[in-house]
């Protein structure tokens, strides 16, 4: 049975080189950069360096997963790194009090969930603007983190736990953390591209009224997305607590820009103009390669910062010129 009425099953996009480059250009660039760097600097692919990079990618990628979807739904969350900072303090406090890493991790997760729920409630149900709301809640979280440490960080003695073991485990050169992260991203991609979740997520950004008219609750979804973002940040926070062996209220600064840069740069990968998990992962990897290469080339920190900022600005310009070419120019 051939379908006569639904003629063009797939639009002929295969030969559209420009479209292909727009979708995968960034990914291609990343691969070329890695190949180039490893030829230029043989120790770039050195086991230690790779492991360091992969571990960094793992933690960052986990932290920014929720953020990716919050931005995809048309909102923004700038409290994620403060949430991670607070999580390190909560987790470290619980561990320091002798309750062990399991209790510490659960307390950390609860921190993220509560903060995310606060954001989600204020944005989704109370209708407050997401940027101001999350600036405020982020600041609140950060302040609470300092309060927990009475103005200082909270070092942990040799109280290793399962989180340490998890971080220390590697399969060959690949850390277990990276494998788990990739698995989580694979699941996330499935939910985003194959399940109803992803469809409603992007629809929320395009036309919230259509979503509501279809009988879905936009408020509830917003709440869920913010809670998920909080949880992702707190998972990263727990890992960082173990990694740094301390609670760090000052954590954040670089993660903030990295997060937004990775997610928004990621919006030029695969789905033009839409933040998505594959894009975020690519963005995180890009930043990790940049940091690693920069360190080897002896760049000052600021060079990296300038590159990041410029890349983000270029990304925005690319996205918007592509979108405009696509004929959505009438929006203000």
């Amino acid at each position: 049975m051939s379908d006569t009425m639904l003629v063009s099953r797939q639009p002929a996009r295969g030969l559209d080189l420009g479209g292909f480059l727009a979708r995968y250009g960034f990914l291609l660039l990343l691969v070329l950069a890695i190949i180039g760097l490893s030829i230029a600097m043989p120790n770039f692919l050195d086991g230690n360096n790779v492991q360091l990079m992969l571990r960094g990618i793992g933690i960052s990628a986990l932290m920014f997963l929720g953020l990716t979807w919050v931005i995809a739904s048309g909102k923004i969350d700038v409290s994620f790194m403060d949430c991670a900072a607070l999580t390190t303090m909560v987790c470290a406090s619980v561990v320091a009090a002798g309750h062990g890493w399991l209790a510490g991790s659960l307390a950390g997760l609860a921190t993220g969930a509560v903060l995310g729920a606060l954001n989600g409630f204020l944005v989704g149900y109370a209708g407050l603007p997401p940027l101001i709301t999350t600036i405020a809640t982020g600041s609140l979280a950060k302040s609470l983190a300092w309060v927990l440490g009475a103005g200082a960080s909270l070092p942990l003695g040799g109280q290793g736990g399962f989180v340490h073991s998890f971080l220390a485990t590697s399969v060959g050169v690949v850390p277990l953390l990276t494998i788990v992260t990739v698995a989580i991203y694979a699941l996330a991609w499935y939910a985003q591209d194959r399940l109803t979740f992803g469809r409603y997520l992007y629809a929320l950004e395009r036309n919230e009224r259509a979503v509501v008219e279809a009988g879905l609750s936009a408020r509830k979804m917003t709440l869920q997305l913010f809670i998920f973002s909080g949880l992702c940040a707190s998972v990263a926070g727990i890992l960082l607590t173990a990694n740094l062996n301390s609670g760090q209220p000052a954590l954040g600064g670089s993660y903030f820009l990295d997060g937004l840069t990775a997610v928004l740069l990621g919006a030029i990968v695969v789905k033009v103009g839409k933040t998505n998990v594959i894009g975020t992962f690519t963005g995180v990897a890009f930043l990790a390669v940049l940091v690693s290469a920069g360190a080897m080339l002896g760049w000052q920190n600021y060079v990296r910062e300038i590159i990041k900022g410029t890349a983000l600005l270029l990304g925005v310009i690319v996205i918007f010129s592509l979108k405009r070419r696509g004929g959505h120019g009438k929006t203000h």
Partner: protein, 505 residues
Amino acid sequence: MTNPVLRMRGIQKRFGPVKALDGVDFTLAQGEIHALLGTNGAGKSTLVKIISGLYQKDDGTIEIAGQEVEIASPADAMAKGIAAVQQHPELIDDLTGVENIFFGHEGANPGLFRRIRTNDMRKRAQDLLKRFPIDIDLDRPVAEMGAVDREIVAVLQALTGDHIRVLILDEPTSTLTEREKASLYQLMRALKEGGISIIYITHRLEEVFEIADRLTVFRGGRNVVSMSSTEARDGATSLVEHLLGEAPGDLYPALADTPPGEVLLDVQHLTAQGAFRDITLQARRGEILGVYGLVGSGLDELSKALFGTFDVDSGRVTFKGREGLFASPTEALKAGIFLVPGDRRTEGLAMSDDVVFNTVLANLGRASRPGGLMRWARPRRATAELAERLALQPPILSKRAREFSGGNQQKIVIAKGLYAQADLYIFVEPTVGVDIGAKAKLYAVMRELAAEAAVIVMSSDGDEVHGLADRLIGLYRGAVVYDAPNGPGARDRLLASGMMGKLAA
């Protein structure tokens, strides 16, 4: 004899002091296409909103298939087999037709984490198209679709519920191309074949003759007449008469009694692809030029082109001896053109600001000292004078624009125009949502303005144009089809030209 699908008797609906529906009877037979006709405010959209559950009737009975029912909400209407498709359906641009049709029902069960059953959706879409054979490529994103195709998607979305018996279809806003018209008719015939009754709201009479089985004419909140469209076609003029009724009397000020002054605006062969073509008109000082055109006639675009916010392809415009279109409203205002836009909420007013703020906005130079500092007392005094002249109600200058009624909001926009001291005023749909008392006042002001300036009134209310203007232009699908001075018999010719694109006999 079978029961009609829908029978309404003695429907009453009031909004405050206004009787929107005054004892309306309406019957819809199984599988018929029933057109509702009437000018703005005639009551057809109120009736439709009662049927689709958006409004509640004050009095009267509704029967569906012989059973008396109450329709409490749009969801309730859906449950009873009535679906309404809005003029601007809520669709998601990036998704394809199929994806939009089944939006919210992609999985086997409702829920966030269900597999999207692409093949199943595709199959169901084909089944729908088998039931209602229509040519449409449902694999395109709706962003790439025209108005009619979007409407078809919305209709199919509504029809995924198998129990729908009555479909309410609003005329798509834009002008239809021949292809679009064909697919719209195809849709309607297919639905009819499928046993669905359609209530079709339109302004365009020719469409009624082509597609509708029956029609009902509304005027002043009553159903005036129902007839089959063949009957209507044979006596087209009488239908126009039913639509229009008597010309309303003393709502309008007297026409100009002095000959018009010099030509201020001279438009020659102005064309903008897809909006209007070959427009030629002149606006003279001391005269009101009326342009009548329905939605999709290019009226709105024309007004915006003259004001510097819409690009044209060819033609020549001369204003006060200076040739060329204006690049922006800033320039148009400087030269002396003021536009009272059709959508005052989004285009005309800063709704959260007060009367003085809005009044002086288009001429800040006059409201400030040479250095750019705002004057305090003078703009206030000038605003107070304008408010009095326009009979602004309530005359409280510190009230926000939002807190005024529609008619008084329009008065604020006009006050802004008066403060700008323009030489040419263009009014677009000046009295939409304005009550009758305020209307008379607005008309008087427009006539007063015409004493010193040129005035163009562009409206889809033919009586308004005819009542006000000294010279009449009928615009139909982007072209001038009628151009004559106002006089005896001009009304019917103007209205017929705007509705049908040709002059009635």
